[in-house]
Protein backbone atom coordinates (compact mmCIF):
# COMPACT_ATOMS: atom_id res chain seq x y z
CA UNK A 1 0.00 0.00 0.00
CA UNK A 2 1.10 3.54 -0.72
CA UNK A 3 1.40 6.26 1.84
CA UNK A 4 1.37 10.01 1.33
CA UNK A 5 3.45 11.87 3.86
CA UNK A 6 2.36 15.24 2.49
CA UNK A 7 -1.30 14.59 3.17
CA UNK A 8 -1.27 15.96 6.69
CA UNK A 9 0.40 19.23 5.79
CA UNK A 10 -2.23 20.42 3.38
CA UNK A 11 -3.27 23.82 4.71
CA UNK A 12 -6.89 24.05 5.76
CA UNK A 13 -9.07 25.14 2.87
CA UNK A 14 -8.94 28.89 2.63
CA UNK A 15 -12.39 30.34 3.00
CA UNK A 16 -13.72 33.17 0.83
CA UNK A 17 -11.99 36.52 1.08
CA UNK A 18 -8.78 35.78 2.95
CA UNK A 19 -5.76 37.97 2.23
CA UNK A 20 -2.91 35.89 0.89
CA UNK A 21 0.38 36.45 2.74
CA UNK A 22 3.70 34.84 1.89
CA UNK A 23 6.18 34.38 4.72
CA UNK A 24 9.73 33.10 4.34
CA UNK A 25 11.02 30.98 7.18
CA UNK A 26 13.91 28.58 7.66
CA UNK A 27 13.05 24.89 7.72
CA UNK A 28 14.14 24.48 11.35
CA UNK A 29 12.35 23.41 14.49
CA UNK A 30 11.97 27.04 15.65
CA UNK A 31 9.49 27.61 12.83
CA UNK A 32 7.12 25.27 14.66
CA UNK A 33 5.42 28.25 16.28
CA UNK A 34 4.47 29.72 12.92
CA UNK A 35 3.28 26.40 11.52
CA UNK A 36 1.38 25.71 14.72
CA UNK A 37 -0.21 29.17 14.73
CA UNK A 38 -1.38 28.76 11.18
CA UNK A 39 -2.86 25.38 11.90
CA UNK A 40 -4.55 26.71 15.01
CA UNK A 41 -6.29 29.29 12.80
CA UNK A 42 -4.84 32.34 14.49
CA UNK A 43 -3.95 34.01 11.18
CA UNK A 44 -7.29 33.20 9.61
CA UNK A 45 -8.96 35.03 12.41
CA UNK A 46 -7.17 38.17 11.18
CA UNK A 47 -8.30 37.45 7.63
CA UNK A 48 -4.86 36.20 6.55
CA UNK A 49 -4.08 33.10 4.53
CA UNK A 50 -0.40 32.46 5.26
CA UNK A 51 1.81 30.47 2.94
CA UNK A 52 5.25 29.58 4.32
CA UNK A 53 8.17 29.63 1.85
CA UNK A 54 11.16 27.72 3.13
CA UNK A 55 13.93 30.16 2.23
CA UNK A 56 17.50 29.31 3.15
CA UNK A 57 18.54 32.28 5.22
CA UNK A 58 18.54 36.00 4.64
CA UNK A 59 20.60 35.93 1.47
CA UNK A 60 17.56 34.62 -0.38
CA UNK A 61 14.76 35.97 1.79
CA UNK A 62 15.69 39.64 1.71
CA UNK A 63 15.86 39.95 -2.09
CA UNK A 64 12.49 38.24 -2.26
CA UNK A 65 11.18 40.64 0.37
CA UNK A 66 12.37 43.65 -1.55
CA UNK A 67 11.08 42.26 -4.78
CA UNK A 68 7.65 41.88 -3.15
CA UNK A 69 7.47 38.15 -3.79
CA UNK A 70 7.15 37.56 -0.07
CA UNK A 71 5.62 39.85 2.53
CA UNK A 72 7.39 38.85 5.73
CA UNK A 73 10.45 36.88 6.70
CA UNK A 74 11.52 35.22 9.89
CA UNK A 75 15.29 35.46 10.17
CA UNK A 76 18.37 36.04 12.26
CA UNK A 77 18.96 39.68 13.21
CA UNK A 78 22.27 39.95 11.37
CA UNK A 79 20.46 39.80 8.03
CA UNK A 80 18.48 42.99 8.66
CA UNK A 81 21.55 44.61 10.27
CA UNK A 82 23.49 44.14 7.07
CA UNK A 83 20.56 45.07 4.91
CA UNK A 84 20.08 48.25 6.87
CA UNK A 85 23.74 49.18 6.50
CA UNK A 86 23.18 48.95 2.74
CA UNK A 87 19.98 51.01 2.91
CA UNK A 88 17.91 48.16 1.51
CA UNK A 89 14.82 49.35 3.32
CA UNK A 90 13.95 46.50 5.67
CA UNK A 91 12.43 46.84 9.09
CA UNK A 92 12.23 44.52 12.08
CA UNK A 93 8.63 44.63 13.19
CA UNK A 94 8.88 42.24 16.09
CA UNK A 95 10.77 39.49 17.78
CA UNK A 96 10.17 35.84 17.07
CA UNK A 97 12.40 33.67 19.24
CA UNK A 98 15.14 34.28 21.77
CA UNK A 99 17.74 32.32 23.61
CA UNK A 100 17.37 31.57 27.28
CA UNK A 101 18.84 33.89 29.87
CA UNK A 102 19.61 30.91 32.10
CA UNK A 103 19.52 27.13 32.05
CA UNK A 104 20.47 25.13 28.94
CA UNK A 105 20.53 27.41 25.93
CA UNK A 106 19.44 26.60 22.41
CA UNK A 107 22.92 26.89 20.90
CA UNK A 108 26.36 26.12 22.22
CA UNK A 109 30.01 25.64 21.36
CA UNK A 110 30.79 21.95 21.64
CA UNK A 111 34.35 20.63 21.65
CA UNK A 112 35.32 17.11 20.80
CA UNK A 113 36.39 15.06 23.77
CA UNK A 114 39.87 14.52 22.39
CA UNK A 115 40.56 18.23 21.89
CA UNK A 116 40.76 18.74 25.65
CA UNK A 117 39.01 22.10 25.47
CA UNK A 118 36.97 22.91 28.55
CA UNK A 119 36.91 26.70 28.77
CA UNK A 120 36.18 29.41 26.21
CA UNK A 121 39.69 30.89 26.59
CA UNK A 122 41.12 27.65 25.25
CA UNK A 123 39.38 28.22 21.96
CA UNK A 124 42.06 30.73 21.04
CA UNK A 125 44.34 29.20 18.48
CA UNK A 126 41.84 26.43 17.67
CA UNK A 127 39.61 25.76 14.72
CA UNK A 128 36.01 26.57 15.56
CA UNK A 129 33.14 26.18 13.14
CA UNK A 130 30.13 28.44 12.83
CA UNK A 131 27.34 28.06 10.31
CA UNK A 132 27.94 31.46 8.84
CA UNK A 133 30.95 33.69 9.31
CA UNK A 134 30.46 37.28 10.34
CA UNK A 135 27.20 36.78 12.23
CA UNK A 136 25.93 36.35 15.76
CA UNK A 137 27.81 33.08 16.25
CA UNK A 138 31.39 34.21 15.87
CA UNK A 139 30.71 37.62 17.42
CA UNK A 140 29.35 36.19 20.65
CA UNK A 141 32.00 33.46 20.74
CA UNK A 142 34.74 36.04 20.46
CA UNK A 143 33.14 38.04 23.22
CA UNK A 144 32.90 34.94 25.39
CA UNK A 145 36.53 34.09 24.77
CA UNK A 146 37.63 37.59 25.66
CA UNK A 147 35.48 37.57 28.77
CA UNK A 148 37.23 34.36 29.84
CA UNK A 149 40.63 35.97 29.36
CA UNK A 150 41.49 34.50 25.94
CA UNK A 151 42.57 36.32 22.81
CA UNK A 152 39.51 36.51 20.56
CA UNK A 153 41.60 37.39 17.52
CA UNK A 154 43.29 34.01 17.68
CA UNK A 155 40.19 31.91 17.26
CA UNK A 156 40.25 30.40 13.80
CA UNK A 157 36.71 30.31 12.51
CA UNK A 158 35.63 28.13 9.62
CA UNK A 159 32.25 27.83 8.05
CA UNK A 160 30.54 24.47 8.44
CA UNK A 161 26.79 24.05 8.19
CA UNK A 162 25.18 22.84 11.43
CA UNK A 163 24.25 19.41 10.06
CA UNK A 164 27.80 18.78 8.84
CA UNK A 165 29.48 19.90 12.07
CA UNK A 166 29.16 16.64 14.06
CA UNK A 167 30.86 14.65 11.33
CA UNK A 168 33.66 17.16 10.91
CA UNK A 169 34.15 17.28 14.65
CA UNK A 170 34.39 13.52 14.79
CA UNK A 171 36.82 13.46 11.88
CA UNK A 172 39.04 15.93 13.73
CA UNK A 173 38.83 18.52 10.98
CA UNK A 174 37.68 21.08 13.55
CA UNK A 175 38.30 21.36 17.27
CA UNK A 176 34.98 22.83 18.32
CA UNK A 177 31.68 23.60 16.68
CA UNK A 178 28.95 26.10 17.32
CA UNK A 179 25.73 24.14 16.85
CA UNK A 180 22.07 24.36 17.63
CA UNK A 181 19.57 21.70 18.63
CA UNK A 182 19.20 18.82 17.87
CA UNK A 183 22.93 18.58 17.39
CA UNK A 184 23.85 19.71 20.90
CA UNK A 185 21.95 16.76 22.33
CA UNK A 186 23.43 14.46 19.74
CA UNK A 187 27.00 15.56 20.49
CA UNK A 188 26.50 15.50 24.22
CA UNK A 189 25.31 11.95 23.95
CA UNK A 190 28.51 11.09 22.17
CA UNK A 191 30.64 12.40 25.00
CA UNK A 192 31.64 15.73 23.49
CA UNK A 193 31.71 18.64 25.87
CA UNK A 194 29.75 21.89 25.83
CA UNK A 195 32.40 24.60 26.22
CA UNK A 196 30.22 27.66 26.34
CA UNK A 197 26.78 28.90 25.45
CA UNK A 198 27.94 32.11 23.83
CA UNK A 199 24.61 33.95 23.77
CA UNK A 200 24.02 33.34 27.40
CA UNK A 201 27.60 34.16 28.27
CA UNK A 202 27.55 37.53 26.55
CA UNK A 203 24.03 38.83 25.95
CA UNK A 204 21.62 36.65 27.92
CA UNK A 205 18.26 36.26 26.21
CA UNK A 206 19.54 37.56 22.85
CA UNK A 207 17.04 37.40 20.02
CA UNK A 208 17.82 34.54 17.63
CA UNK A 209 15.02 35.10 15.16
CA UNK A 210 13.12 38.28 14.34
CA UNK A 211 10.22 39.15 12.10
CA UNK A 212 11.16 41.29 9.14
CA UNK A 213 9.31 43.10 6.43
CA UNK A 214 10.16 45.73 3.86
CA UNK A 215 9.78 49.42 4.59
CA UNK A 216 7.85 49.69 1.37
CA UNK A 217 5.18 47.24 2.47
CA UNK A 218 4.96 48.87 5.88
CA UNK A 219 4.34 52.26 4.27
CA UNK A 220 2.00 51.10 1.54
CA UNK A 221 -0.08 48.55 3.44
CA UNK A 222 0.11 49.43 7.12
CA UNK A 223 -3.16 47.62 7.77
CA UNK A 224 -1.68 44.31 6.61
CA UNK A 225 1.38 44.77 8.79
CA UNK A 226 -0.81 45.56 11.76
CA UNK A 227 -3.00 42.52 11.19
CA UNK A 228 -0.02 40.24 10.68
CA UNK A 229 1.69 41.61 13.78
CA UNK A 230 -1.37 41.03 15.87
CA UNK A 231 -1.59 37.45 14.63
CA UNK A 232 2.11 36.87 15.24
CA UNK A 233 1.85 38.23 18.74
CA UNK A 234 -0.97 35.89 19.49
CA UNK A 235 0.80 32.99 17.85
CA UNK A 236 3.98 33.48 19.84
CA UNK A 237 2.06 33.77 23.06
CA UNK A 238 0.18 30.63 22.09
CA UNK A 239 3.48 28.87 21.39
CA UNK A 240 4.95 29.99 24.69
CA UNK A 241 2.11 28.32 26.58
CA UNK A 242 3.31 24.90 27.81
CA UNK A 243 -0.18 23.57 27.23
CA UNK A 244 0.38 23.84 23.50
CA UNK A 245 3.74 22.10 23.41
CA UNK A 246 2.23 18.93 21.96
CA UNK A 247 0.83 20.90 19.01
CA UNK A 248 4.22 22.50 18.46
CA UNK A 249 5.98 19.16 18.40
CA UNK A 250 3.35 17.82 16.07
CA UNK A 251 4.03 20.77 13.74
CA UNK A 252 7.72 19.84 13.71
CA UNK A 253 6.89 16.27 12.82
CA UNK A 254 4.58 17.42 10.05
CA UNK A 255 7.02 19.79 8.45
CA UNK A 256 10.50 18.48 9.15
CA UNK A 257 12.10 15.09 8.70
CA UNK A 258 13.30 14.86 12.27
CA UNK A 259 13.10 11.38 13.72
CA UNK A 260 10.27 11.09 16.26
CA UNK A 261 12.39 10.92 19.43
CA UNK A 262 14.36 13.96 18.35
CA UNK A 263 11.22 15.92 17.51
CA UNK A 264 9.86 15.07 20.92
CA UNK A 265 12.95 16.10 22.79
CA UNK A 266 14.44 18.97 20.78
CA UNK A 267 14.80 22.09 22.89
CA UNK A 268 12.59 24.94 21.75
CA UNK A 269 13.55 28.59 22.14
CA UNK A 270 11.70 31.26 24.09
CA UNK A 271 9.00 32.60 21.81
CA UNK A 272 7.86 36.19 22.18
CA UNK A 273 6.88 39.20 20.10
CA UNK A 274 8.49 41.91 22.22
CA UNK A 275 11.90 42.95 20.89
CA UNK A 276 14.85 43.43 23.22
CA UNK A 277 16.32 46.44 21.48
CA UNK A 278 19.12 46.86 24.00
CA UNK A 279 20.33 43.31 23.37
CA UNK A 280 20.35 43.84 19.64
CA UNK A 281 22.23 47.12 19.99
CA UNK A 282 24.75 45.40 22.21
CA UNK A 283 25.21 42.70 19.57
CA UNK A 284 25.86 45.35 16.96
CA UNK A 285 28.36 47.05 19.24
CA UNK A 286 30.23 43.80 19.74
CA UNK A 287 30.16 43.22 16.00
CA UNK A 288 31.75 46.61 15.45
CA UNK A 289 34.33 45.89 18.11
CA UNK A 290 35.38 42.67 16.37
CA UNK A 291 35.18 44.35 12.98
CA UNK A 292 32.43 42.14 11.73
CA UNK A 293 30.45 45.28 10.98
CA UNK A 294 32.10 48.55 10.16
CA UNK A 295 29.18 50.73 11.30
CA UNK A 296 26.20 50.55 13.61
CA UNK A 297 22.87 50.05 11.89
CA UNK A 298 20.40 52.88 12.27
CA UNK A 299 18.29 51.27 14.98
CA UNK A 300 15.62 53.96 14.97
CA UNK A 301 14.92 53.20 11.38
CA UNK A 302 15.47 49.45 11.56
CA UNK A 303 13.50 48.54 14.66
CA UNK A 304 9.87 49.46 14.54
CA UNK A 305 8.16 47.28 17.11
CA UNK A 306 4.53 46.77 16.18
Amino acid sequence: GCTDSDATTGSPAASGDLRKVRVAALPISETAALWGGIKAGIFRKQGLDVEVSPAQGGAQAIPALINGDIDFAIGQPFGPFRADLQNLGVVIVGNYASSYADGDDINAVVASAKSGITRPAQLAGRKVSVNSLGAAGDVTIMAAVEKDGGDPAKVEFVEVAFPDAPAQLAAGNIDAAWVTEPFITQLRGRGDRVVVEPYQATIPGLATLTTITSAKLKDSDAALVTKFSAAMKETLTWAGDPANEASLRQAIKDNLKLPEPVADSVRLPAFGWQLDRAGLEQLATLARKYRVLDRQPDFDRLIQQQ
Binding site: I66, L88, L133, V158, E159, V160, N173
Partner: protein, 263 residues
Protein backbone atom coordinates in the same frame (compact mmCIF):
# COMPACT_ATOMS: atom_id res chain seq x y z
CA UNK B 1 41.44 39.19 -46.30
CA UNK B 2 42.24 40.88 -43.00
CA UNK B 3 43.90 44.24 -42.93
CA UNK B 4 47.52 44.01 -43.95
CA UNK B 5 49.00 46.53 -41.60
CA UNK B 6 49.50 45.01 -38.17
CA UNK B 7 48.41 48.19 -36.40
CA UNK B 8 45.12 48.12 -38.23
CA UNK B 9 44.65 44.45 -37.48
CA UNK B 10 45.27 44.94 -33.80
CA UNK B 11 42.83 47.82 -33.78
CA UNK B 12 40.21 45.68 -35.48
CA UNK B 13 40.78 42.86 -33.01
CA UNK B 14 40.44 45.23 -30.11
CA UNK B 15 37.26 46.64 -31.54
CA UNK B 16 35.82 43.15 -31.85
CA UNK B 17 36.98 42.18 -28.37
CA UNK B 18 35.65 45.26 -26.66
CA UNK B 19 32.74 46.33 -28.84
CA UNK B 20 29.96 44.24 -27.40
CA UNK B 21 31.18 44.49 -23.79
CA UNK B 22 31.27 48.28 -24.16
CA UNK B 23 27.71 48.31 -25.43
CA UNK B 24 26.68 46.02 -22.60
CA UNK B 25 28.32 48.25 -20.00
CA UNK B 26 26.55 51.31 -21.37
CA UNK B 27 23.19 49.54 -21.31
CA UNK B 28 23.92 48.33 -17.81
CA UNK B 29 24.77 51.88 -16.71
CA UNK B 30 21.57 53.27 -18.16
CA UNK B 31 19.49 50.48 -16.68
CA UNK B 32 20.97 50.74 -13.21
CA UNK B 33 20.67 54.53 -13.25
CA UNK B 34 16.99 54.36 -14.13
CA UNK B 35 16.11 51.52 -11.82
CA UNK B 36 15.78 52.20 -8.11
CA UNK B 37 16.59 48.60 -7.31
CA UNK B 38 19.31 48.45 -4.73
CA UNK B 39 20.45 45.05 -5.94
CA UNK B 40 21.64 46.41 -9.24
CA UNK B 41 24.80 48.35 -8.68
CA UNK B 42 25.89 50.63 -11.50
CA UNK B 43 29.10 50.01 -13.44
CA UNK B 44 30.90 52.85 -11.73
CA UNK B 45 30.04 51.59 -8.27
CA UNK B 46 31.17 48.09 -9.23
CA UNK B 47 34.40 49.42 -10.67
CA UNK B 48 35.03 51.38 -7.53
CA UNK B 49 34.27 48.33 -5.40
CA UNK B 50 36.56 46.30 -7.62
CA UNK B 51 39.42 48.66 -6.97
CA UNK B 52 38.77 48.72 -3.25
CA UNK B 53 38.21 45.02 -2.86
CA UNK B 54 40.56 43.17 -5.12
CA UNK B 55 43.54 45.38 -5.70
CA UNK B 56 45.79 44.99 -2.72
CA UNK B 57 46.34 42.23 -0.17
CA UNK B 58 43.04 40.54 -0.95
CA UNK B 59 44.52 39.52 -4.26
CA UNK B 60 47.36 37.66 -2.61
CA UNK B 61 45.28 36.29 0.26
CA UNK B 62 42.09 35.32 -1.51
CA UNK B 63 42.55 35.28 -5.25
CA UNK B 64 45.97 33.71 -5.72
CA UNK B 65 45.32 30.59 -3.60
CA UNK B 66 42.02 30.16 -5.39
CA UNK B 67 43.75 30.42 -8.75
CA UNK B 68 46.34 27.90 -7.68
CA UNK B 69 43.65 25.41 -6.73
CA UNK B 70 41.88 26.19 -9.97
CA UNK B 71 45.02 25.46 -11.97
CA UNK B 72 45.58 22.21 -10.12
CA UNK B 73 41.97 21.23 -10.62
CA UNK B 74 42.06 21.93 -14.33
CA UNK B 75 45.37 20.14 -14.83
CA UNK B 76 44.10 17.16 -12.88
CA UNK B 77 40.86 17.06 -14.85
CA UNK B 78 42.67 17.16 -18.16
CA UNK B 79 45.15 14.43 -17.29
CA UNK B 80 42.57 12.18 -15.70
CA UNK B 81 39.81 12.98 -18.16
CA UNK B 82 41.88 12.36 -21.26
CA UNK B 83 43.56 9.24 -19.91
CA UNK B 84 40.31 7.71 -18.71
CA UNK B 85 38.49 8.91 -21.80
CA UNK B 86 40.91 7.19 -24.12
CA UNK B 87 40.80 4.00 -22.13
CA UNK B 88 37.03 3.99 -21.92
CA UNK B 89 36.60 5.13 -25.52
CA UNK B 90 38.80 2.44 -27.00
CA UNK B 91 37.96 -0.46 -24.71
CA UNK B 92 34.38 -1.42 -25.23
CA UNK B 93 34.26 -3.74 -22.24
CA UNK B 94 35.51 -1.03 -19.93
CA UNK B 95 33.02 1.41 -21.39
CA UNK B 96 30.16 -0.93 -20.73
CA UNK B 97 31.32 -1.67 -17.21
CA UNK B 98 31.94 1.88 -16.10
CA UNK B 99 29.33 3.65 -18.20
CA UNK B 100 26.37 3.48 -15.82
CA UNK B 101 28.55 4.24 -12.81
CA UNK B 102 29.92 7.38 -14.41
CA UNK B 103 26.46 8.54 -15.38
CA UNK B 104 25.38 7.94 -11.83
CA UNK B 105 28.12 10.13 -10.41
CA UNK B 106 27.69 12.78 -13.01
CA UNK B 107 24.17 13.51 -11.81
CA UNK B 108 25.02 14.04 -8.16
CA UNK B 109 25.03 17.72 -7.19
CA UNK B 110 28.46 18.84 -5.92
CA UNK B 111 26.95 20.63 -2.90
CA UNK B 112 25.91 17.28 -1.43
CA UNK B 113 29.27 15.75 -2.31
CA UNK B 114 31.21 18.43 -0.48
CA UNK B 115 30.41 17.10 3.01
CA UNK B 116 31.54 13.62 1.97
CA UNK B 117 34.68 15.02 0.39
CA UNK B 118 35.28 16.94 3.58
CA UNK B 119 34.89 13.80 5.63
CA UNK B 120 37.33 11.84 3.52
CA UNK B 121 39.85 14.57 2.83
CA UNK B 122 39.36 17.08 5.62
CA UNK B 123 38.83 20.80 5.23
CA UNK B 124 41.87 21.21 3.06
CA UNK B 125 42.97 22.58 -0.26
CA UNK B 126 43.08 19.02 -1.58
CA UNK B 127 39.39 18.67 -0.86
CA UNK B 128 38.65 21.78 -2.90
CA UNK B 129 40.82 20.60 -5.77
CA UNK B 130 38.97 17.29 -5.72
CA UNK B 131 35.64 19.09 -5.79
CA UNK B 132 36.80 21.15 -8.77
CA UNK B 133 37.88 18.00 -10.55
CA UNK B 134 34.67 16.22 -9.71
CA UNK B 135 32.84 18.67 -11.93
CA UNK B 136 35.38 19.73 -14.52
CA UNK B 137 36.32 16.23 -15.55
CA UNK B 138 32.99 15.39 -17.17
CA UNK B 139 33.13 17.55 -20.29
CA UNK B 140 36.65 16.34 -20.98
CA UNK B 141 35.85 12.72 -20.29
CA UNK B 142 32.70 12.63 -22.37
CA UNK B 143 34.23 14.49 -25.27
CA UNK B 144 37.33 12.33 -25.24
CA UNK B 145 35.25 9.17 -25.26
CA UNK B 146 33.14 10.43 -28.14
CA UNK B 147 36.16 11.74 -30.00
CA UNK B 148 38.00 8.45 -29.70
CA UNK B 149 34.98 6.52 -30.85
CA UNK B 150 34.49 8.78 -33.84
CA UNK B 151 38.00 8.18 -35.20
CA UNK B 152 37.76 7.47 -38.90
CA UNK B 153 37.73 3.77 -39.65
CA UNK B 154 40.12 4.04 -42.60
CA UNK B 155 42.64 5.84 -40.40
CA UNK B 156 42.45 3.09 -37.80
CA UNK B 157 42.72 0.40 -40.46
CA UNK B 158 45.79 2.14 -41.80
CA UNK B 159 47.37 2.10 -38.37
CA UNK B 160 46.45 -1.56 -37.94
CA UNK B 161 47.77 -2.58 -41.30
CA UNK B 162 51.15 -1.00 -40.57
CA UNK B 163 51.13 -2.64 -37.16
CA UNK B 164 51.74 0.68 -35.47
CA UNK B 165 52.37 -0.20 -31.81
CA UNK B 166 49.82 0.62 -29.17
CA UNK B 167 51.61 3.62 -27.76
CA UNK B 168 52.35 5.22 -31.12
CA UNK B 169 48.87 4.50 -32.32
CA UNK B 170 47.65 6.43 -29.31
CA UNK B 171 50.10 9.25 -29.68
CA UNK B 172 49.96 9.70 -33.45
CA UNK B 173 46.51 8.49 -34.45
CA UNK B 174 43.90 8.33 -31.71
CA UNK B 175 44.90 11.40 -29.72
CA UNK B 176 45.18 13.78 -32.67
CA UNK B 177 42.00 12.43 -34.20
CA UNK B 178 40.15 13.08 -30.97
CA UNK B 179 41.94 16.37 -30.35
CA UNK B 180 39.21 18.65 -31.72
CA UNK B 181 36.68 17.01 -29.45
CA UNK B 182 39.06 16.99 -26.50
CA UNK B 183 39.69 20.68 -26.94
CA UNK B 184 35.95 21.33 -26.97
CA UNK B 185 35.73 19.50 -23.69
CA UNK B 186 38.65 21.38 -22.18
CA UNK B 187 37.13 24.68 -23.15
CA UNK B 188 33.94 23.72 -21.36
CA UNK B 189 35.85 22.35 -18.40
CA UNK B 190 37.59 25.69 -17.87
CA UNK B 191 34.41 27.50 -16.98
CA UNK B 192 32.99 24.56 -15.06
CA UNK B 193 36.19 24.46 -13.01
CA UNK B 194 35.90 28.14 -12.25
CA UNK B 195 32.30 27.67 -11.15
CA UNK B 196 33.24 24.77 -8.92
CA UNK B 197 36.14 26.67 -7.46
CA UNK B 198 33.58 29.18 -6.27
CA UNK B 199 31.17 26.53 -5.03
CA UNK B 200 33.89 24.65 -3.18
CA UNK B 201 34.78 27.85 -1.37
CA UNK B 202 31.22 28.78 -0.63
CA UNK B 203 31.05 25.86 1.78
CA UNK B 204 33.37 25.25 4.69
CA UNK B 205 35.82 27.94 3.91
CA UNK B 206 37.10 31.17 5.34
CA UNK B 207 39.06 32.61 2.48
CA UNK B 208 39.20 32.54 -1.27
CA UNK B 209 37.39 34.21 -4.09
CA UNK B 210 34.28 32.08 -3.74
CA UNK B 211 34.11 32.69 -0.03
CA UNK B 212 34.39 36.42 -0.62
CA UNK B 213 31.57 36.41 -3.13
CA UNK B 214 29.35 34.41 -0.81
CA UNK B 215 30.26 36.74 2.02
CA UNK B 216 29.40 39.85 0.04
CA UNK B 217 26.21 38.25 -1.07
CA UNK B 218 25.16 37.48 2.46
CA UNK B 219 26.02 40.96 3.57
CA UNK B 220 24.24 42.73 0.77
CA UNK B 221 27.48 44.34 -0.30
CA UNK B 222 25.99 44.45 -3.73
CA UNK B 223 28.67 46.39 -5.55
CA UNK B 224 31.34 44.20 -3.99
CA UNK B 225 29.48 41.06 -4.96
CA UNK B 226 29.21 42.17 -8.54
CA UNK B 227 32.87 43.13 -8.50
CA UNK B 228 33.61 39.54 -7.50
CA UNK B 229 31.56 38.27 -10.41
CA UNK B 230 33.37 40.76 -12.62
CA UNK B 231 36.66 39.31 -11.43
CA UNK B 232 35.40 35.81 -12.20
CA UNK B 233 34.47 36.92 -15.68
CA UNK B 234 37.89 38.46 -16.18
CA UNK B 235 39.55 35.26 -15.03
CA UNK B 236 37.31 33.45 -17.47
CA UNK B 237 38.49 35.66 -20.30
CA UNK B 238 42.10 35.20 -19.27
CA UNK B 239 41.66 31.43 -19.26
CA UNK B 240 40.00 31.61 -22.65
CA UNK B 241 42.89 33.60 -24.08
CA UNK B 242 45.46 31.18 -22.70
CA UNK B 243 43.39 28.29 -23.96
CA UNK B 244 43.10 29.92 -27.37
CA UNK B 245 46.89 30.08 -27.63
CA UNK B 246 47.27 26.43 -26.72
CA UNK B 247 44.44 25.40 -28.99
CA UNK B 248 45.90 27.24 -31.93
CA UNK B 249 49.11 25.27 -31.49
CA UNK B 250 47.52 21.92 -30.87
CA UNK B 251 44.88 22.18 -33.58
CA UNK B 252 46.86 24.04 -36.20
CA UNK B 253 46.32 21.27 -38.73
CA UNK B 254 42.65 21.14 -38.00
CA UNK B 255 42.07 24.83 -38.36
CA UNK B 256 44.12 24.87 -41.53
CA UNK B 257 42.15 21.97 -42.92
CA UNK B 258 38.80 23.45 -42.03
CA UNK B 259 39.93 26.86 -43.26
CA UNK B 260 38.82 28.23 -39.95
CA UNK B 261 41.62 30.72 -39.89
CA UNK B 262 40.81 31.90 -43.37
CA UNK B 263 37.05 32.05 -42.94
Amino acid sequence: MTARRPALRIAANLLFALGLPAVAVVLWGVWSARSDNRFLAGPLAVLDAFRRTWIGPAFVDDVLPSLLRLALGIAGSIVLGVAAGIAIGSLRRLRETLGPLLEFFRAIPPPVLIPVAMLLLGITGTMKVVVIMSGAIWPILLNTIDGVRATDSVMLETADSYRIPRWERLRFVVLPAAAPRIMTGVRQALSVALILMVISEMFASSSGLGYRIAYFQRNYLIAEMWSGILLLGLIGILLAVLFGLVERRVLRWYQGMKEITRA
